[in-house]
């Protein structure tokens, strides 16, 4: 299995954290919170679509909500291969950083 890109990793972790409440607004907020950048919906959906195509997540449609102009929410959940990929990523992260001490703040 291929390694996840950083963007994919961020998205998948965001969905994982949000559990049942992972839909557009919450995912965007979470990603923005993590990356500290203004995330644009256009790019977000393209990336999410790609994750769906790769089989890491599935999407299910919720009930129509009045506050959303009568539109339903699209919920995203991780598939088993998504979870597996995240586990691999975490393992990879651990191996990359293993044994490296914290950088001291006042080095420069």
């Amino acid at each position: 299995m291929n390694e996840l890109t950083l963007a994919e990793e961020i998205l998948l972790t965001a969905i994982w954290r949000l559990k049942e409440n992972a839909y557009g607004v919450t995912i965007r907020k979470k990603v923005a919170e993590v990356t500290r950048k203004n995330v644009i919906y256009g790019t977000l959906y393209n990336s999410l679509d790609q994750l769906v195509r790769k089989g890491y997540v599935t999407k299910t449609r919720g009930k129509p909500v009045a506050e959303r102009g009568g539109r339903s929410k699209m919920f995203y959940t991780l598939t088993s291969s998504g979870i597996k990929a995240l586990q691999n990523a975490r393992e990879l992260q651990r191996r990359i950083w293993d044994g490296i001490p914290e950088f001291s703040e006042n080095k420069s």
């Binding site: 644009i40 919906y41 256009g42 790019t43 102009g69 539109r71």
Partner: protein
């Protein structure tokens, strides 16, 4: 207001809708709405709105990236299916592409022509600030291209907005150098300011200096080669009219073909004073001098025109009205008297544009018709695509790209065809068009856009039609598209209506040309040789030259004259006894002729007698036409006093004849004797010859000519050719229309052929059953053709009034004209029906003679 702030910006939302491709993505719009409301409550609507806008706008790049990627993937697939389709249905594809290619070829040729016509005189620097001063005298003199000799200097002196002004005057001369002699029609005199106004590149010499000295001349490269060959022309002397010596002081590039002013030699304007001793520039006479001005950059010519009345009062010509004619308008809008060359007419541009548009439309309709008629072959493909998940817009996109591929293929074929046909087309329109398809990026881009537009139009209806199929119906084999056949019929009717209009137009033009050819002009034009005379000395010896010529029994008569009978246009006003004030400025066409002119041309005397050598006083006598007598209002004209100052008498009246082309009405015409004034030049020698051995007679004439007028080149024409030449533009229009109507009907027939094949194929079973029941071959043939014949009749009925109306307008341009007549319509109808019948008969007969066993075997 409050609700306004509650919802996100409309335009941004609309953009977002446009970008959403799938149903899922529409749901995502809800996400934006939800967050918008949240921000609205927390940070106010300004912040919310700007957040929304940023979200939408910054989504665009991602959207574009994705859609281009998928567009490309799908386009590859469309391309593949399109090529498969072309391969599988070669005949049908051939008809389709050929129709488009021929239509485009016509269109490109016409566009090239229009582009060329519109480019006239635009090559000058600041061409839009250059004007010609034309004048008219209301109620007395029509608009005239020439103006007064003193105008140009006065304009420069009196108006600061006039940057420069130059005079030009044609000076026809016979020019000699060593053993070369040519009659130069494009020999001009012009002011040194000429080169301030116009931009004509100089190769050598100082043109301004050259044009300020008398008898110095600038020549074009072509002229230099003609006279001097390899010699260096600078400083050489050209001898003109056996009297004057011009020094070559500079060489110019040949003027571009798209200039209304074409010259071969330019001499200085002050030379004029030396040539005509008694010549003085004035505010009375124009002497055929043309005045061009260059105004300050972007100066509004109306402002100057408004100042003209006061200006003219100063110089004592309040009766005159000046007009500033933009230089770039002269070629297409300037059909006025005394112009340098016969200009074209903007109406031809309009006519040709309409024809180009109609022909391309016929070609597009062809494509539409064939594509929709063959929908059965494509419907399964559409059904499968739809089932697999294509939406309607994808199908539309597919058929659009297919038609654009067809159009592009047709474009490349037509580029080739244009190359092939351009020489012939150039002859037809008498222009020097060039076509650089690949090297001229502007043309390439223009034609590429044309092809895309053509593809778009052609593909529009088939795409909409095919994409409307319901997959369930298609795949279950249900067909029922009533609407489409009505639309197809409309297309066929349109195509043939246009073709029939063009046919009627062509036939009418040819009928009028035939009428012109056979119209009795009032004089004989056959077997008359016109010899150009340039030698002024001939005036003293012309009687003996005539006697010499008449020694030859084949020469039946010879007449010396200043004007040809078909070109009598010089306008003069006269005084006569009993003249009323309102007749004071009546203009008469005037011709100076000798004793034999009337007899030689077979003009009929109504009253009185011809000029005769028995009456020496005839030098002061006049012969009038009937119309002239009626205009004056005399009961008995013979013996009445008449002349510039009533100095002569009227000795005869002749019947009216067509002294101009049939475009103009017969006007009052006056003949005076060539000996009347010493400065009247003999311009032409008319010789009536016997039909036998014309070359021998011509050789004899040439020999005599050389005896009497040595040095001068001998050139001749036939009078009937000169008369025919007056209708050159009409002739040309006829030929062009002929070509285009053939093309139109050919393209339409291509489509019809395909359509007939389709109809026959669709009805194979029906025909089989009919035959089994007992229908004969002719029954079936009639039955299959009936539908098309009905369409033809509708097309014909539609075409008739349009053609009648427009051709009548064309005929109004002739003072003497034929009627369109029923015969033209019948002939047009017959030729259209015959072509249609021939086109469809192949398919109809094939279907009608087919064995019903074959078609019904599988039922």
């Amino acid at each position: 207001m409050k609700t306004d702030k509650q919802i996100p910006p409309h335009f941004a939302k609309w953009l977002l809708f446009r970008m959403s491709r799938y149903e899922d993505e529409f749901l995502c719009i809800g996400d934006l709405d939800e967050e918008y409301k949240e921000i609205l409550q927390q940070a106010g609507h300004h912040k919310a709105r700007s957040w929304y806008w940023v979200q939408v706008l910054r989504s665009i790049p991602a959207y574009l990236r994705i859609s281009i990627l998928w567009g490309f993937v799908m386009f590859k697939n469309y391309l593949k299916t399109a090529f498969r389709h072309i391969k599988r249905h070669k005949g049908y594809s051939f008809i389709n592409i050929a129709g488009l290619a021929i239509g485009m070829t016509c269109c490109i040729l016409i566009l090239l022509y229009i582009q060329y016509e519109l480019s006239y005189d635009k090559f000058h620097k600041d061409a839009h600030d250059i004007y010609r001063v034309a004048f008219e005298i209301p109620d007395r003199l029509d608009m005239n291209a020439s103006s007064f000799g003193l105008l140009a200097p006065a304009l420069i002196k009196d108006f600061s907005e006039v940057q420069s002004a130059a005079r030009i005057r044609r000076l026809e001369s016979t020019v000699f150098y060593k053993n070369h002699a040519f009659t130069e029609k494009n020999f001009f005199l012009c002011d040194p300011e000429f080169f301030d106004v116009f931009t004509f590149p100089v190769i050598s010499g100082d043109p301004k200096k050259a044009l300020s000295e008398p008898f110095s001349v600038l020549i074009t490269q072509e002229t230099a080669e003609k006279y001097f060959g390899d010699e260096d022309p600078m400083g050489k002397t050209l001898h003109a009219d056996n009297k004057y010596d011009y020094k070559v002081a500079g060489i110019l590039e040949n003027p571009p073909q798209n200039s209304h002013f074409k010259f071969d030699l330019l001499a200085s304007f002050i030379t004029m004073e030396r040539i005509w001793e008694d010549y003085s520039l004035s505010w009375m006479n124009t002497n055929r001098i043309l005045t061009y001005v260059k105004l300050r950059k972007n100066y509004n010519p109306d402002d100057l025109e408004r100042k003209f009345p006061e200006f003219l009062r100063k110089y004592g010509r309040e009766d005159v009205v000046f007009h500033l004619q933009p230089l770039t308008d002269i070629h297409l809008h300037g059909n006025i008297r005394n112009d340098l060359e016969a200009n074209s007419d903007i109406r031809y541009i309009y006519i040709f544009s309409v024809i180009a548009f109609l022909i391309i439309l016929i070609a597009c309709f062809n494509y539409m018709n064939l594509s929709t008629s063959r929908s059965a072959h494509r419907s399964r493909e559409v059904g499968v695509r739809k089932v697999v998940g294509a939406e309607r817009k994808h199908i539309i996109r597919q058929f659009m790209s297919e038609s654009i591929i067809f159009a592009l293929a047709a474009l490349f074929i037509s580029a080739f065809l244009v190359r092939l046909s351009l020489p012939a087309f150039n002859l037809l329109v008498d222009r020097h068009l060039a076509f650089h398809f690949l090297s001229d990026s502007e043309i390439f881009l223009g034609l590429f856009i044309l092809a895309v537009i053509v593809g778009f139009i052609s593909g529009s209806y088939p795409a909409l039609f095919l994409s409307s199929f319901h997959p369930v119906h298609i795949l279950r084999g249900i067909r029922g598209h009533k609407g489409s056949s009505a639309f197809r019929n409309f297309l066929v009717v349109f195509q043939f209506a246009v073709s029939i209009v063009l046919i009627i137009g062509t036939l009418t033009i040819y009928k009028q040309l035939h009428y012109i050819k056979n119209k009795n002009l009032g004089f004989h034009k056959e077997q008359i040789v016109v010899v150009d005379l340039k030698d002024e000395n001939l005036k003293n010896v012309y009687e003996s030259m005539r006697n010499d010529l008449k020694q030859n029994p084949r020469i039946l008569g010879a007449s010396f004259c200043c004007d040809l009978p078909n070109e009598i246009d010089a306008r003069n006003s006269y005084r006569w006894e009993g003249q009323t004030e309102e007749n004071r400025w009546q203009l008469f066409n005037t011709a100076a002729v000798d004793n034999e002119f009337i007899d030689l041309l077979g003009l009929e005397l109504e009253e009185g007698r011809n000029f005769s050598e028995e009456f020496p006083t005839d030098k002061q006598a006049f012969i009038l036409t009937e119309t002239a007598v009626i205009t004056i209002g005399w009961e008995s004209p013979i013996g009445k006093r008449f002349g510039y100052w009533e100095e002569g008498t009227v000795i005869g009246v002749i019947k009216d004849f067509h002294h101009l082309s049939l475009h103009s009405a017969i006007g009052p015409t006056v003949f005076l004797h060539v000996d009347k004034e010493t400065d009247l030049n003999l311009n032409y020698l008319l010789i009536k010859v016997n039909p036998g051995d014309i070359p021998g007679t011509l050789a004899f004439i040439k020999k005599k000519f050389n005896e009497y007028s040595p040095h001068y080149p001998f050139s001749f024409t036939f009078l009937d050719d000169r008369v025919d030449k007056m209708y050159r533009t009409d002739n040309r229009l006829g030929q062009i229309l002929n070509v285009f109507s053939f093309t139109a009907i050919f393209i339409a027939c291509l489509g019809l052929f395909g359509l007939a094949a389709f109809t026959a194929e669709r009805r194979t079973k029906e025909i089989g059953i009919r035959k089994v029941i007992g229908a004969s071959v002719s029954n079936i043939f009639f039955f299959l053709s009936r539908e098309f014949i009905n369409l033809m009749i509708i097309a014909f009925l539609l075409a008739c009034p349009i053609a009648y109306f427009s051709m009548n307008r064309w005929l109004q341009g002739f003072a003497y004209r034929t009627h369109i007549g029923v015969a033209v319509f019948i002939l047009a109808a017959l030729s259209a029906f015959m072509t249609v019948l021939i086109t469809i008969s192949y398919q109809s007969i094939k279907a009608a003679t087919a064995n019903p066993v074959d078609s019904l075997r599988y039922e």
